[in-house]
């Protein structure tokens, strides 16, 4: 269906490396805690019945039930942060602490952020919209909270918090947001728009997302979390003699219109995965693991993976079983889960893994990454 590149004169893309990462999830705060939980196979399911005044579809969900931003970032300047913003800020803080990249006045205009989302903080937006209907006058909304209604709020606040003056992009991708953000970040680094990027995705848990997930008949309840990776060029890593946690070998995206039928959509998805493997120079039987995406597009994804993998039997990392339906954060948490296994396991060093994602609307993606372990205490300074 898709024709091959019209020109073969383009050089192979420059290698890109993850030099540190951070997660905030019910499974853990920071890469080490999260890694331990993922390797043990712990689930994030918890009692959420006292989190909100509004009724929830169930007492159990994959949420940070006790989360208060001030416990993580202090009181100063944090009181108006919505939950998405707070989660993204904490995860990016953990990522910066996990890498040896140092952001100073000399490089902060070359360090940026690419953050994936579904629709920003839907609670902020919907609550704001609600005020226009329920206040005595429709305009009696709080102007201080207005920036929380734009989808780039978390990225903008993270830039302010960490003083990152480079490219600052927000990608609305739903379940594909993590892979879309990673692809955008790879393109941005190779285009020399930045020297290093924090790239990741965030999703908050709220009554709105809980009900939306439930009413969309998701097989697992809603979750929340943020995962952020520090992505740098090979040159930057080599010049400073630093080590990497992972190499991003390929990220490919496609659109597989579900209206054309499961079979046709699965074929487009399979082609996308094959393209990613080809770009990565990896064959299916070399993969040590596959981390498939969310539950939303299950049949198409399953069929595409079966077509590509054939007899190969890599380990299946079913991340949604651990973290719930995390929508935009799903893909980033899948990558984090792959790196979690690498983190303390030298036998996996250099082995490639495949991460796939899909949305109900038909956007699909595949990434191939290979990771290396860290010795405990081998942290960024």
């Amino acid at each position: 269906m898709t024709t091959e590149p019209s020109s073969t004169s383009f050089p192979p893309p420059e290698p890109l490396y993850i030099t540190g990462w951070g997660v905030l999830s019910p499974l853990g705060d920071g890469a080490d805690e999260f890694s331990d939980a993922v390797v043990e196979g712990r689930t994030a399911l918890t009692d959420v019945s006292s989190m909100f005044e509004e009724e929830l579809p169930g007492d159990q969900a994959y949420a940070l039930a006790e989360f208060r931003v001030r416990d993580y970032l202090g009181r100063k300047g944090t009181s108006f942060f919505d939950r998405s913003t707070a989660l993204a800020l904490v995860a990016s803080d953990r990522a910066l602490k996990d890498t040896e990249l140092v952001v100073t006045d000399d490089n902060r205009d070359q360090v940026g952020l690419v953050l994936g989302t579904t629709t920003g903080s839907i609670k902020s937006t919907s609550d704001y919209s609600r005020e226009t209907l329920t206040q005595r006058r429709p305009y009696l909304v709080n102007p201080v909270l207005f920036p929380n209604t734009v989808m780039n709020c978390a990225a903008g606040q993270a830039a302010i918090w960490h003083k990152l003056k480079g490219v600052n992009a927000t990608i609305a991708g739903g379940q594909l947001a993590g892979l879309s953000a990673l692809r955008y970040a790879c393109r941005t680094l190779r285009w020399e728009d930045a020297e290093a990027l924090l790239v990741g995705a965030v999703e908050e848990f709220s009554p709105h997302t809980a009900w939306a997930t439930h009413l969309a008949t998701s097989p697992v309840p809603a979750g929340e979390g943020a995962a952020v990776f520090v992505l740098e060029t090979a040159a930057a890593v080599a010049d400073s003699g630093r080590r990497a946690d992972a190499e991003v070998l390929a990220v490919e995206l496609a659109t597989a219109d579900p209206e054309r039928g499961t079979e046709a959509a699965a074929e487009v998805f399979a082609q996308c995965i094959r393209r990613a493997l080809r770009v990565a120079g990896v064959s299916a039987d070399e993969l040590w693991a596959v981390a498939p995406g969310s539950t939303a597009a299950g049949r198409i994804e399953t069929a595409a993976l079966a077509a590509v993998l054939g007899p190969a039997e890599p380990v299946r990392l079913n991340v949604a079983e651990l973290v719930g339906e995390c929508h935009a954060a799903s893909g980033a948490l899948q990558i984090a889960a792959v790196l979690a296994h690498h983190r303390s396991n030298p036998t996996l060093d250099g082995c490639p893994a495949l991460v796939t994602s899909a949305t109900r609307e038909g956007t699909v993606g595949a990434a191939v990454i290979r990771g290396w372990h860290r010795d405990r205490g081998d942290h960024g300074q």
Binding site: T118, K165, A172, L215
Partner: protein, 402 residues
């Protein structure tokens, strides 16, 4: 090796006209697209004007999508993309078989869908929400709508960097083509007028009552607007091969972040973004013949934007006009409309005007806003500004194909 990238199709769905000819005529004549708000009940709001597109009829424009299954903003994006492809003259069947995708910018995504769900919540409870509306909510659907309308199998990227998002999208599409990762791209943006933005801008003191008058001494704010803006991009070689009409070349872009304040613009950072865009496009400031301004019409934006322009261009900058005087602030589509206006200006040799301009601002010396109607001019290089909440600055540079 990097391929040169050109714009060969335009798709404006705007309050001053739908399609290239209507839009170009409106720009040249300085028409206003502002009208009393009809897309929501504005009773109780002190200000009740906006740049809506009441003439938008997705059923008439779309060939594949079922308008009942998509929100207004996705439909704006898909209709604009359909127009841009028609304008480009490319065979749609060949396009759908090619390596083609889209990148679409937005501020508020499917804001009207979210407002309808919120109304259901107010009337009942969250468990009563309509699942069909929930499915229509994700902002990612904007680019997906474009790809599904056109049968494209490449990437569908929705960039939600607020009011500079179209420039982010255009920059991404350009780089994707230049590096050979795709052979055709649709870039642009879309947004819909909604209650919450109207209320929020009013409460920020940024909303004017009747007339948006950028760069005027007495300017008093924005009017919210809506629409869809799409540009069809391909490598120069491909455009020449198929004998396509070329509007303009994309020369480069610059992105940065103020990292200082969510709402207040930072002129130092904006100036740095301009320099970055010039550097990436391989031009000097002196080569810029026209600046298509962000020009929202708020006292703060226009003053800060002018300050940055004067810093980068010196005391005699090129003409700088704001099409927001005509369209209102179309949010995530704004710099997409700016790119369309810039491309038209280059191709048809005119500078789009700033309408409603009466009195120069003594605080902004040296500014030539091209008041009233378009001015004939040969434009070799145009700078298209986009700034946003979150300090997300994005500037694209377009030029005549030399």
């Amino acid at each position: 090796m990097r391929r040169r990238v050109v714009i060969t199709g335009l798709g404006p769905v705007s309050s001053v006209g739908i399609g290239t000819e209507e839009f170009a005529t409106a720009l040249q004549q300085g028409e206003s697209g502002i009208s009393p708000i009809s897309s929501f009940d504005a009773t109780g709001f002190p200000h009740r004007m906006a740049g809506e597109v009441p003439a938008f009829d997705p059923k008439q424009m779309l060939e594949h999508l079922d308008p009942r299954e998509w929100g207004r903003t996705s439909l704006f994006a898909a209709a604009a993309a359909r127009l841009a492809v028609q304008d480009s003259g490319i065979d749609p069947a060949a396009l759908s078989r090619a390596r083609a995708g889209s990148s679409i910018g937005t501020t508020s995504g499917e804001s009207q869908v979210i407002e309808e769900l919120t109304a259901q919540w107010v009337a009942g409870s969250l468990k009563d929400l309509d699942p069909a509306l929930i499915r229509a909510t994700p902002a990612s659907r904007l680019a997906v709508a474009v790809n599904r309308e056109l049968g494209l199998t490449g990437e569908a990227l929705t960039l939600s960097t607020a009011c500079s998002a179209s420039n982010y999208a255009l920059g991404h599409a350009y780089a994707t083509l230049a590096t050979g990762e795709a052979d055709y791209m649709i870039a642009g943006g879309a947004d819909s007028v909604c209650r919450w933005a109207h209320a929020g801008f009013y409460r920020l003191g940024a909303l004017t009552e009747f007339v948006c008058s950028p760069f005027d001494r007495d300017r008093s704010g924005i009017l919210t607007g809506e629409g869809g803006a799409a540009l069809f991009l391909e490598p120069l070689e491909s455009a020449e091969r198929r004998g396509a009409r070329i509007y303009a070349e994309v020369l480069g872009y610059g992105l940065n972040c103020d990292a200082s304040h969510m709402v207040a613009p930072d002129p130092v950072s904006i100036a740095e973004c301009m320099r970055r865009a010039h550097r990436k496009a391989g031009i000097d400031a002196a080569q810029v013949d026209y600046i298509c301004a962000h020009g929202t019409g708020t006292p703060a934006n226009d003053a800060m934007e002018t300050q940055a322009v004067l810093e980068v261009f010196g005391p005699k900058p090129p003409p700088i006009s704001s099409i927001k005087s005509m369209l209102g602030h179309t949010m995530g589509a704004a710099s997409g409309f700016g790119a369309i206006a810039s491309a038209l200006g280059i191709a048809r040799q005119f500078i789009p005007p700033t309408i409603n301009f009466r009195t120069p601002d003594p605080q902004m010396p040296g500014i030539d806003p091209v008041a009233g109607v378009a001015r004939p001019a040969r434009l070799r290089v145009v700078q298209n500004n986009g700034f946003a909440f979150g300090g997300n600055n994005a500037i694209t540079i377009l030029g005549e194909v030399a």
